[in-house]
């Protein structure tokens, strides 16, 4: 497995890197034992509205977030999706930046006629109709929909997404989709964090700048907060979960100093069952880091540092997935209204996208 996904020193096109060792049959139905084995741990951290009656065979969910805006979440989502599509996966790309959706623009598409808004808000299109074919082979896009239609219903509950989750969980069964990539919006809105918590792999995109790093950590803290709440709900002990959240996040009640991991371990005596459940839920999902706009080795190291620091601090299973060079190709392809990896298939940024895609697959056991 190690050599199969080797991304270093590989010459030639990145498509080759991703695809060489697969047989046609494997490509049609790629499976991951890892995800299969960790299914229960993954379910242990899900919010109430996700996966109530999920089928056995579900696609892999990769959520791409990072707190701050403009750090390259959509760029990464679109291009990694295209790379996975090139490798033979059937990818569904969902634009969840509700209110300022623009993922379609990365593919050079105009505002689509049918979008998530029609499906979620107005209930007037079946899920099948909002899946748009894109210029990238193997990639379907569920566009976010007209911006103003979301502003109308700013404060709807998680219940609004039950239908979406249902449709996505059944996407493998119905549309043979292997990977669902969720492109999240900026900020730590409840829905955003819900999507992040519900993914098999959450990817944090950061720039090598203090503002972005700060937001990335607050994003992770919000994720932790939500996971504890979800665990409390699963264990039927919401009061205990509230107490744990207080101990971790409330500056008046929390112990001073020390990582979340240490505090959780200390609280284990008090709430053994719940804390065990939290650890179990943490184990069921991975957190990946991608550093965007790197200009030097020091910038690259930030990803590795964040990986080890947040593993120790939060107890997440973390992975540094790679990095993206600061490259003019990013804005050039946008202005050309073509997807980066298709517009500049040999540029350094395209190669980085393959590396990230390959590392994602490797981490998830494909």
């Amino acid at each position: 497995m190690e050599t199969r996904w080797s991304t270093r020193g590989a010459s030639g096109s990145s498509l080759k890197v991703l695809g060489t060792s697969r047989t046609a049959k494997q490509l049609q139905n790629p499976t991951s034992d890892y995800l299969h084995k960790n299914r229960e741990a993954w379910e242990a951290g899900l919010p109430a509205h996700v996966g109530l009656d999920a089928p056995k065979d579900i696609p892999t969910f990769i959520a791409i977030g990072g707190g701050k805006g403009g750090v390259g979440k959509s760029l990464l989502s679109a291009n990694v999706a295209a790379k996975l599509g090139q490798a033979g996966f059937k990818v569904l790309l969902v634009d969840l930046d509700l209110g300022s959706a623009n993922l379609h623009t990365y593919f050079g598409l105009g505002m689509p006629k049918k979008s998530l808004a029609d499906f979620i808000l107005y209930n007037r299109s079946p899920f099948k109709d909002i899946l748009l074919p894109t210029s990238a082979p193997g990639v379907l896009l569920a566009a976010g929909g007209k911006d103003e239609s979301w502003s109308d219903t700013t404060d709807f509950g998680s219940g609004a997404f039950v239908g979406l989750w249902d449709a996505m969980l059944y996407a493998k069964k119905n549309f043979n989709i292997n990977v669902v990539i969720l492109d999240l919006g900026a900020g730590t809105h409840r829905h955003t964090i819900d999507f992040f918590c519900s993914a098999h792999m959450g990817v944090i995109t950061v720039l090598p700048e203090p503002t972005s790093i700060e937001n990335a950590y607050s994003f992770l803290k919000a994720t932790m907060w939500r996971l504890i709440e979800n665990a409390g709900m699963h264990c039927n002990s919401c009061a205990a979960a509230d107490e744990i959240k207080d101990q971790l996040f409330n500056p008046q009640k929390a112990r001073k100093g020390g990582s979340h991991m240490r505090k959780l371990k200390l609280l284990h005596k008090q709430y053994p069952e719940l804390i065990d459940h939290i650890f179990y839920a943490l184990k069921g999902r991975q957190i990946g880091f991608v550093v965007n706009q790197i200009r030097s080795q020091r910038d690259i190291d930030i990803g590795n540092s964040m990986e080890s620091v947040s593993r120790n601090y939060f107890g997440f299973l973390t992975r540094s997935l790679g990095y993206m060079n600061y490259d003019d190709a990013a804005w050039k392809s946008l202005r050309n209204r073509r997807l980066l990896v298709l517009d500049f298939p040999h540029c350094i940024l395209t190669k980085r996208m393959s590396e990230v895609a390959a590392n994602m697959l490797g981490s998830l056991g494909y």
């Binding site: 996904w5 270093r8 890892y34 700048e209 950590y217 005596k269 080890s308 620091v309 540094s320 590396e355």
Partner: protein, 301 residues
């Protein structure tokens, strides 16, 4: 599957560690396996040193100054103890004891088999260590580990042959276990600067200076008499200056053939005399070293 069953899948020993004998898991601090080689430990140390560095951008806003300092201290301490064969053996032994104590609890291994991927080692910063990441709060113990320790111990005894019994950690240090470094038999500078309490009394100081004025400065016997005058036993001396009883004996009995290189002997003698309250000791050391060098020259000719 009901919740409780699920919960049991997770190692429940995480809490045990905070109980009775508090033994910090230095292997966990450095994020290495229990049987990691010295090279792995060193690499992990440098990697962490680079990470937990106040100049590191990646820590911004997550760690407070205090937390950072504490982490750095932990890392330094873990490395100091694990990088020294002797203190590592002592530490391992205690870790095993502590774990056996907490073993009574239900234990399940939950090694998370992260699928191995070619961890894209960017700029050679990372080793593959993270690829198979074991869940950090797990406590892992098996017989192989104990054997490993026995093996390491016999190796250590071979290495320190000639040092004679250095007093194992258990009987010597049983009383004071304040500093982990001292606890696992690793000297530190503070210990070297310690002075025996009796040496501060003026009447004893006078007697000591009399002895020095009359005595033969190159003779180890003089130092033995000073030590007895101050009322320090060989064992106490060993604990404080971190020189084994064997060497203290040889030094006091002028058994030059069993002493190490003169440069080490000078160091021993210096801390020995300091502990006895003799800070202006250069001429004493010089006299003893001359005697030692004479003996070496005579032997080689």
């Amino acid at each position: 599957m009901d919740q409780q069953e699920k919960a049991y899948k997770v190692a429940s020993t995480a809490s045990g560690k905070e109980d009775s004998p508090i033994v910090k898991d230095y292997y966990e601090v450095l994020n290495v396996e229990k049987d990691a080689s010295f090279k792995e430990i060193r690499e992990a140390f440098f990697r962490l040193k680079n990470t937990y560095n106040s100049n590191n951008q990646a820590l911004y806003s997550l760690l407070e100054e205090d937390d950072l300092e504490e982490s750095i201290e932990d890392i330094n301490e873990a490395y100091a103890i694990l990088s020294n064969a002797e203190s590592r053996v002592n530490y391992d032994r205690e870790l095993v004891d502590a774990k056996i104590a907490t073993e009574s609890q239900v234990r399940h291994d939950i090694t998370v088999d992260m699928p191995t991927t070619k961890s894209q080692s960017i700029g050679g910063q990372r080793s593959g260590g993270t690829a198979n990441s074991t869940w950090t709060h797990e406590q892992h113990i098996d017989l192989g580990f104990v054997k490993e320790i026995e093996g390491a111990h016999s190796f250590h005894e071979e290495v320190s042959r000639g040092k004679e019994k250095r007093g194992s950690y258990h009987d010597v240090n049983a009383g004071f276990l304040a500093s982990p470094r001292r606890r696992y038999g690793l000297g530190n500078n503070a210990a070297r600067k310690a002075i025996a309490p009796a040496a501060l009394q003026t009447d004893i100081q006078e007697k000591v200076s009399e002895l020095i004025a009359d005595g033969d400065l190159g003779d180890g016997n003089l130092y033995k008499r000073i030590r007895q005058l101050v009322g320090v036993s060989k064992e106490e001396m060993q604990d404080h200056i971190k020189v084994s009883i064997g060497y203290i004996d040889h030094l006091e009995e002028n058994r030059f053939d069993l002493l190490p290189q003169p440069v080490y002997v000078k160091g021993f003698l210096k801390s020995y005399l300091r502990f006895l309250g003799i800070s202006a000791c250069d001429h004493l050391i010089k006299a003893y070293a001359e005697r030692l060098n004479d003996w070496i020259e005579k032997k080689s000719s």
